[in-house]
Symmetry: C2
Subunit: 351 residues, 2 copies
């Protein structure tokens, strides 16, 4: 199961994780506490907290033996323009964390900070893997039967058939090597269930994917997304981004309707008390904190971006995804997969 | 408010509605009963039930004075290939109903049958309106503050910027003239809130829409869809289709989780009894039957396609949308809007 990059390291060997301690809507307190929680539960791994040293030490108190701090004097704010911010803030925590991986001093980066800045830092400092024209941001999406990997949910629209085929390959590697799904079913998100139905790029991507050894099952539709019809669902960034944000919006909308009913009348409050165990089960199904680490696939490093709103528990789980990715040697296994001769090189980007 | 086509007809004047009595998953029984319900409540309007006369008369019993039957010996099944079926079944109910509008014997078509067949019949028999390169299927989507119009949710992917701009214009006309929204806010569905952010076609459509007199507000994101940030949301068919099917899938998924909890334990059953009024309110918010008539915009006729799963109540409401569309002279007001000089003609289809 371990890729070439993990050669010599056993599955249980420790990895070194650079955590951007300053990122996220809640600032360092949630990130630091999430990181400490992970560190205490995973003594073989080493955590490097990157950010303002005084702040981190004040929050963390006595550091566990497997946690260290690397100082970074700046931070990219959530509302900054990513490229501009990275140009101006050379000592931003996300850049310092990324450079630790670049120099081989860490095996993965985990951040709850500005998604665009994290992606830009990874592409600029680490670079793309050979055979990857565009890195893709993947998310583990909740379904009625566990989770599936949806990608791309990033910021690069107008992907080509070749991009989609590359996303498919990378998503399959992540699903198999990091999430442990055997022969993950790979599908294209489109209109209509018939194979190849949809946009021209989906028709062409279908041809490309049919020629690979992936377990490619054709199209899935919007209604299939919650039914776990596939393990890896591939689409352009616009579609992926709209789906994942609509998921958040719609589920919040529905849960809020119930919450209002549970709170505004005595009947509702009593119903809530009775239903508490059931609501707990529903919460567990919709526990996105558990699956909240989104890998940026296709760069020369394991990069996990979690939600800006992540609190300590979700940070802990995001670091876990980073650790699993690092242990699997994610960049190396993706690079190996991209060398598979059945994937055609993308000769015309933007076609 | 009435368009040129409604000239001479007052707002309260009756319209003639051709109802495809054979379409839908539940067959004629639901359609006929829904139509009779509408006919009894709207005595000024005339209903023409199209389909197997014996079946319809057996189901309907004595027909109200404002209901008549036009015989059609065939029906397009829900799993048939639309173009093939229409070629082979010249006497299909959807074709016969469409021809009634074509010959001026009806003012609108309402069907719960095969969506693709209804669209194909409308385009083939009625044709597109001048200035419309592609008809668009619109849906009234439920939000936390009423409904919004989402289009295109049809079957034609790879729309251009010009198509999107035309959808915007047609959706705005439907929102204003049929739903009664004053100066509807029109938005493009994309990634990122900044105006013009997203695909190249969205950037170009932004330029086109900025040059119109529409109340164009720029982009909305997936998370904005349930928050009624716009009255008309425009996107390519793939995005619209995935969103609306995902809406169905995700809301069903969540409601099923609650239903299971309400049914499987005594605590749940008791909670359900207590919460019944609240669940009624939630049901009312999610009452898609009330808004279930989807207009096909841009053809020379008022065409309303409702869900294949529609039962009589939803059929009744879909016919209401058809009546409102016919009363507003929908095709004529759309044609007039498309002549607005600020809409650039789409010179390069497929660009």
């Amino acid at each position: 199961m371990t890729g070439p990059g993990a050669a010599g390291r056993g599955l249980e060997a420790g990895v070194r994780l650079a955590v951007d301690a300053m990122g996220g809507d809640h600032g360092p307190v949630e990130v630091v506490n999430g990181a400490l929680s992970f560190a205490r539960a995973n003594l073989a791994d080493r955590l490097i907290l990157v950010g303002d040293e005084a702040t981190i030490r004040a929050l963390a108190g006595d550091l566990p033996a497997n946690v260290s701090v690397v100082h970074a004097s700046q931070v990219v704010a959530m509302d900054e323009h990513p490229a501009l911010a990275l140009r101006e803030k050379k000592d931003a925590s996300i850049l310092v964390a990324t450079d630790l991986v670049k120099r081989g001093e860490a095996d993965a980066i985990v951040t709850a900070g500005h998604t665009g800045a994290a992606m830009a830092a990874a592409v600029l400092r680490l670079g793309r893997l050979p055979g990857v024209d565009r890195p893709a941001l993947a998310v583990q999406m909740i379904t009625s039967a566990g989770s599936l990997v949806l990608l791309d949910i990033g910021a690069n629209p107008d992907s080509t058939a070749e991009h989609l085929a590359q996303y498919a390959r990378m998503g399959a590697v992540f699903s198999e090597r990091v999430l442990g799904v055997a022969r993950p079913r790979v599908a294209l998100l489109s209109i209509g269930e018939e194979k190849g139905k949809g946009e021209v790029r989906v028709q062409r991507a279908t041809e490309l994917l049919d020629a690979t050894d992936l377990n490619f099952i054709g199209n899935v539709e919007g209604k299939d997304l919650t039914r776990a019809m596939a393990d890896v669902v591939v689409c352009d960034a616009v579609l992926g981004n709209v789906v994942i944000k609509f998921f958040e919006g719609l589920s919040t909308f529905i849960f809020e309707l119930f919450r209002t009913e549970f709170r505004t009348t005595w009947r509702g409050r009593l119903a809530y008390l009775l239903l508490r165990p059931g609501i707990g089960r529903i919460r567990q199904t919709f526990d996105y904190e558990r699956v909240g680490g989104s890998p940026l696939l296709g760069v020369r490093g394991t990069v996990i971006i979690t939600h800006g709103r992540a609190k300590r528990r979700m940070i802990h789980h995001a670091i876990e995804v980073g650790a699993r990715g690092a242990r699997a040697g994610l960049p190396d296994v993706i690079a190996a997969a991209m060398r598979a001769p059945t994937i055609r090189p993308a000769t015309e980007v933007g076609s």
